[in-house]
């Protein structure tokens, strides 16, 4: 069995007293209860997962949640399932999984497990147990309302589980989370459902959610169904589903070791796993500096922070690592896993400027901004609008009897997330005060030109489509990208440094 070489000696929300053994592609690796398969793999120094589907390119773990595009698993056993993100699968003893190259297999055997369903009515349904959702649930519970609180994670807290310095009412935020859950679970009219994902929102606040009840247990109790489908009719719905971090699009951004900054932070703080020993951070906003401080706090080397913004924000200046502003990553190198990267200045015109510099690293954390998770809002015909400052689509007018709060509404400051959640819960008392979060100003970078001078040269050709499609309301930016394409293809700077034969037929995974 491999050792947990990348596990930090302290910290994390894992049960170090116990050890479990799982099989990944036939290799035994050790983990602790509280790990996901992805965090266990990373703790054992394994970041590579199944190769890409069409071109067979090496792929690694990118994210830490449901947004994971690469680490897809086939789970062996009685209830064999495929295409399960390793980032969402809790480890249990003797769990056996195989990594997939983007294509699963249906189990030939009949599924003998029991699945049931339950119909409930509630005054307030809160979807998401992050700071905004918890504030909404607590505020609603204190008004005497019947409350149902759903969250897809094994424990409540949302983004606060991945944090370190965040505070609520002057104390560590997780203390506040614990006190909120203690108060909610003693309430007679409150139902808290962990491991539950709301996946459908229909007329008159009818919400469907699936609860995973036994997969995380070593021994499934005989009288408990494997999954339960909740049919929930709510008077009011509070959508506090959070936001997904966006990756950056540059040549070689799918190389194992390139991860989302928020995911690196989640592995660091929540699972006590370091994604690398020498981590470069590339960002377009302030959120990645929380990661920089945490990495340095754990003694992990951060050789450089590559910030796309031309100004060094106050947050960046205080982070303690060398910051290169107005720059972007242009290429990565490494046999499979990343071993070095190149970065260069990026002019306002979208073209590269200055010298291309190389830096050695074994992980690259990228943050290309944040996209609110608006799916449930959109399912109810809720409209969205393009927010130029956030560079993201945010909910416009709310659906009747629904509230979208927190980062799902484009609000990334902890204090205002708590205030919005508290107000949506229906309380007129003073909301808890938070400290932390915030994105600062954002410089959206949709497509980084290749070092050869062509945006989307080589591997990035297919990226061009997805990158321009991401900003349909930004005509100016699209035009700029096209101009860069035309001028640079007319006068190539140098020979392509990354020689990859053909563009892949698929869009890049990240």
């Amino acid at each position: 069995m491999s050792a947990q070489t990348h596990r930090l000696p302290i910290g994390g929300r894992i049960d170090r007293a116990k050890q479990v053994e799982i099989l990944v592609d036939g290799h035994a690796i050790s983990a602790h209860p509280g790990d996901t398969v992805a965090s266990a793999m990373l703790a054992n120094g394994r970041i590579e997962v199944g190769n890409s589907l069409y071109r067979g390119r090496p792929r690694g773990v990118v994210a830490a949640g449901v947004e994971e595009p690469n680490a897809l698993l086939q789970v062996a056993g009685q209830c064999s399932e495929s295409m399960i993100p390793a980032t969402t699968l809790s480890v249990v003893n003797a769990l056996a999984v195989d990594t997939l190259s983007g294509l699963g297999r249906l189990a030939p055997d009949a599924d003998e497990a029991v699945y049931d369903k339950k119909y409930v009515h509630t005054d307030v349904l809160v979807i998401g147990a992050g700071p905004a959702g918890l504030a909404a649930a607590l505020a609603a519970a204190r008004t005497g309302a019947r409350v149902v609180l759903l969250d897809d994670q094994p424990e409540p807290g949302g983004s606060l589980l991945s944090g370190s310095q965040e505070q609520v009412d002057g104390a560590p935020a997780l203390n506040w989370v614990n006190s909120v859950i203690a108060e909610l679970t003693t309430g007679a009219e409150v139902v808290v459902l962990p491991r539950t994902t709301a996946f459908g929102s229909y007329e008159d606040n009818y919400v469907l959610a699936v609860q995973h009840r036994t997969d995380h247990l070593d021994e499934a109790p005989a009288a408990v169904s494997r999954q339960r489908l909740w049919h929930i009719r709510a008077t009011r719905v509070v959508i506090a589903t959070g936001a997904h971090e966006r990756p950056l699009v540059f040549s070689g951004n799918d190389r194992p070791g390139v991860m989302l900054a928020s995911a690196v932070r989640t592995y660091l703080n929540r699972y006590a796993v370091r994604a690398g020993t020498r981590v470069v951070v590339a960002t377009t906003n302030d959120s990645a500096y929380d990661l920089v401080e945490d990495l340095l706090g754990h003694g992990i080397d951060v050789p450089v922070v590559i910030d796309a913004r031309s100004d060094v924000s106050a947050r960046a200046a205080a982070c303690g690592a060398p910051v290169v502003s107005g720059s972007v990553v242009v290429a990565t190198h490494g046999e499979t896993r990343i071993t070095s990267l190149e970065f260069s200045g990026l002019a306002d015109s979208g073209e590269l400027t200055g010298e291309v510099e190389t830096v050695q690293c074994d992980a690259l954390a990228v943050s290309g901004g944040w996209s609110p998770v608006v799916h449930l809002h959109s399912q109810r015909q809720g409209t969205i609008r393009w927010d130029e400052a956030l560079a993201a689509f945010v909910p416009d007018a709310p659906v009747s009897n629904q509230h979208v709060v927190g980062s799902a509404a484009g609000d990334f400051d902890l204090d205002s997330c708590l205030a919005a959640g508290w107000a949506a819960g229906g309380s007129d008392t003073a909301a808890p005060r938070g400290g932390g979060g915030g994105l600062g100003t954002i410089r959206p970078v949709w497509l980084v030109p290749g070092v050869a001078g062509q945006p989307g040269s080589g591997t990035n050709t297919s990226s061009t489509c997805s990158a321009t499609r991401r900003s349909p309301t930004c005509g100016a930016r699209r035009v700029r990208a096209c101009e860069a394409l035309n001028t640079s293809s007319a006068t190539p700077r140098s020979a392509p440094r990354t020689t990859r034969a053909k563009p892949r037929p698929s869009t890049p995974s990240v």
Partner: protein, 97 residues
């Protein structure tokens, strides 16, 4: 799933009801004098607005009685519920969207 308020039983899930089509389609006073086209229009032609629409529903697995609903066909919002003997409420605009 819509939540429809039966005037007699209260709010129930949509699955308890059957749909009865457009409300207030009067039977012709002298059907034998209609042309084929007029008769077919009475039988088959119905309004299809985007917005408030008066329609009939029956609480099929409840009280089994018919009633009328004014419903916004875009937002699916129920704007009024009334008994078949009552006149259509004067609702021309749905919820602002």
């Amino acid at each position: 799933m819509m939540l429809l308020p039966c005037p007699w039983c209260g709010p129930r899930d949509e699955t308890e009801y059957h749909y009865g089509g457009q409300a207030h389609v009067a039977y012709p006073t002298n059907p034998s004098e209609l042309t084929d086209e007029e008769w077919s229009r009475f039988l088959f032609f119905r309004d299809n607005p985007k917005g408030p629409f008066a329609e009939r529903w029956v609480h099929a697995i409840g009280c089994r009685r018919w009633f009328n609903v004014v419903r916004d066909t875009f937002t699916y919002e129920v704007l009024a519920v009334y008994k078949p003997s009552d006149p259509r409420p004067d609702i021309t605009t749905g919820a602002p969207r």
